[in-house]
Symmetry: C2
Subunit: 354 residues, 2 copies
DNA sequence: TTGCCCTATGTTAGCGATAACGGAACCAGA
DNA sequence: TCTGGTTCCGTTATCGCTAACATAGGGCAA
């Protein structure tokens, strides 16, 4: 365990410590101290120990601001996401963080609250720290944001979504096809009168694309969405209950409800069970994301894994690889599309034969 | 909407833009450009427009690394938390973030995974960027971490917990008393045979303190905990179910279950309802945190609000105030203790009379 | 001994911005 | 005309560190 006592003079003067202090305390040049603390270059074992000892006793912490300016290298990776309260993004983050841990790179998180203008300013702020890489959720950005990304001078990975054009690398799933496949599964199970419940947020492009794909899938079977219910605000169980109740009162004939996320789906499921609905016989349900929460519900809600953690990992891998290559950062952009799979759970009938 | 086209020469040469480029493009000195971009000092309206125009057309993004080094001022606030998947910490973060938004300060998040060693290194890493302030979850740190905080040269706020000594300012609740009050409420409602279900993590000091306070509260009534069940891993509904089942099989006579968080409490509640237990008549239940999730459950779980968002806000306010004062950062440390209140919900009997 | 390589350390010159000060231009009042 | 005060903008000197090069001293072969 490193000791970190305080030099009394420093406490008194409040002068921040610099390399020079360590250099004087250990009797070598600043450059040598720098080498020791960065594990770079040849330093004899004796000086190395001497320097480390001095740094520890002083409680010296290197100044990365100066270091970064001098070396033109920063170990920060900007991560721009729309929200932290969504459960989904912390998991992506966790994948990024785990992958980056080994590389000496460090994620720095920025939250946009689904606002394009905020995304623009968060991006500007981040770029002003000249990060080694950038991970941004989504493919939709303002023109200015897109320009900043293109000129960032660092690898950029846009994540979560592959339905569209990326600035550089892209890692995600096709939400359009996710919606489409879910529609196919529902139709295959014989459901015919289908309702959709989702978020009102116009800036949640992934939810929007799922809905579009879903519509497309139903249309292919000559069906359409019979009723829709939208809400604003975070994803919450209670919202799911309320919306489901409203919809089933309005359209009691529906035989399937497709939710744009698991949380409201779970709320809906609880409500349906309480009401005594025969699930999945009379009424089928499905959500989206495959969150852990669903494991503990009375019935397992049908859903689709959105590969959140893996998306984070793959994105981080790309950044890490590019960051190491250094100046040859003009490697071809990667495009990784992951395949979400349907988890039928207990709220969707098995496919009907014929 | 700002346009951010790219100078073709730059695309070709890949030389990063500097203040000099803007200065040349607009025909004024670097200093003037700097003044314009920071809104500081007197600049005539005509030059101001000229400079902004040039900066925009070039797509210039200021280099805060250089700026911070020169001005010895950084607008970053380090936030060190144990986990992001806990639901609790994102809410704290959200409070911090909302409060900081107005001040030009920016939170930078570090995650420790409940590991003291990791906390130490995260702290070291953060301090190397010389942040304007530091918000750290918890009061328990390694000796070295504590020393770093003490010598950070920036305001430090330790949050969540007030049961112990802080390095500088402290904002939180007393988990010991939270546990104690819950015990009192349970006893007052006439429950006598009480089980506890919680996390195994030895580093979750707040959960530990709640348990200690809880024991103390029971002891005051001549009671003790009849059975305990611990688990490791994140808080999950499924865990709550499994643990509850195991405990009730082992100790069928229990009449109250106290959970260390709402998530496992909710799992337990779902299980109990499925099993047909009379809740809260035959069996009472309570959790901790007051998470939004509980609103949508079939029955509202008794819990206690942990004031997460407000804790974040108050911490951010302290940092913001101190950061403005600048050098006179030796203001007396603040100590703010918030009062969590019991939300009895539907899973605890009303207090028995006499 | 000379010459050369190798290791360990020091010296110099920035990195890209800002603080602090200096000074020019201009106006007003004595 | 001179003084003094604005307003606006430029010059100079850092900030703390590292890249790149320079240098010292030793070992070893010829």
């Amino acid at each position: 365990m490193p000791r970190t006592p305080v030099d009394p003079r420093r406490s008194a003067s409040h002068r921040p410590l610099t390399l020079r202090d360590v250099s004087e305390a250990s009797g070598v040049s600043e450059m040598t101290v720098s080498r020791v603390l960065r594990n770079r270059g040849d330093v004899s074992e004796t000086t190395r120990i001497k320097v480390l000892e001095a740094a520890r006793t002083l409680g010296y912490v290197p100044n990365k601001i100066a270091g970064a300016l001098a070396s033109q290298r920063v170990n920060l990776v900007g991560v721009v996401i729309p929200s932290l309260s969504n459960l989904v993004f912390p998991e992506v983050l966790s994948g990024i963080s785990a992958e980056l841990d080994e590389t000496g790179l460090q994620p720095v998180v920025g939250v946009t609250n689904y606002s394009p203008a905020r995304e623009e300013s968060v991006l500007y702020e981040m770029l002003s720290w000249r990060p080694a890489g950038l991970v941004v959720a989504g493919l939709e950005h303002t023109e200015a944001a897109r320009a900043m990304l293109a000129n960032a001078g660092a690898p950029v990975v846009e994540i979560m979504d592959v339905d569209g054009e990326g600035v550089d690398s892209v890692v995600g799933i096709s939400h359009r096809r996710a919606g489409l496949h879910m529609a196919e599964a529902i139709v295959a199970s014989g459901y015919r009168r289908i309702g959709f419940l989702g978020t009102k947020m116009p800036e949640d492009h992934r939810a929007r694309k799922r809905l579009e794909g879903f519509r497309e899938g139903l249309a292919a079977a000559g069906l359409g969405i019979e009723d829709t219910e939208f809400y604003s605000g975070g994803s919450a169980l209670l919202k799911g209950r309320e919306m489901t109740e409203a919809m089933m009162r309005r359209s009691p004939d529906l035989d399937f409800l497709y939710y744009s996320n698991d949380m409201i789906g779970a709320g809906g499921l609880l409500w349906c069970l309480e009401q005594g609905y025969d699930v999945p016989g009379r009424l089928g349900l499905a959500g989206f994301n495959g969150v852990e929460l669903l494991q503990g519900l009375p019935r397992r809600l049908a859903t689709m894994d959105s590969c959140r953690r893996e998306i984070g990992q793959r994105a981080a891998q790309i950044i890490a690889a590019r960051a190491c290559e250094g100046a040859s950062a003009d490697a071809a952009p990667e495009r990784i599309e992951l395949e979400p799979v349907i988890q039928p759970g207990d709220t969707i009938r098995p496919p009907s034969r014929g």
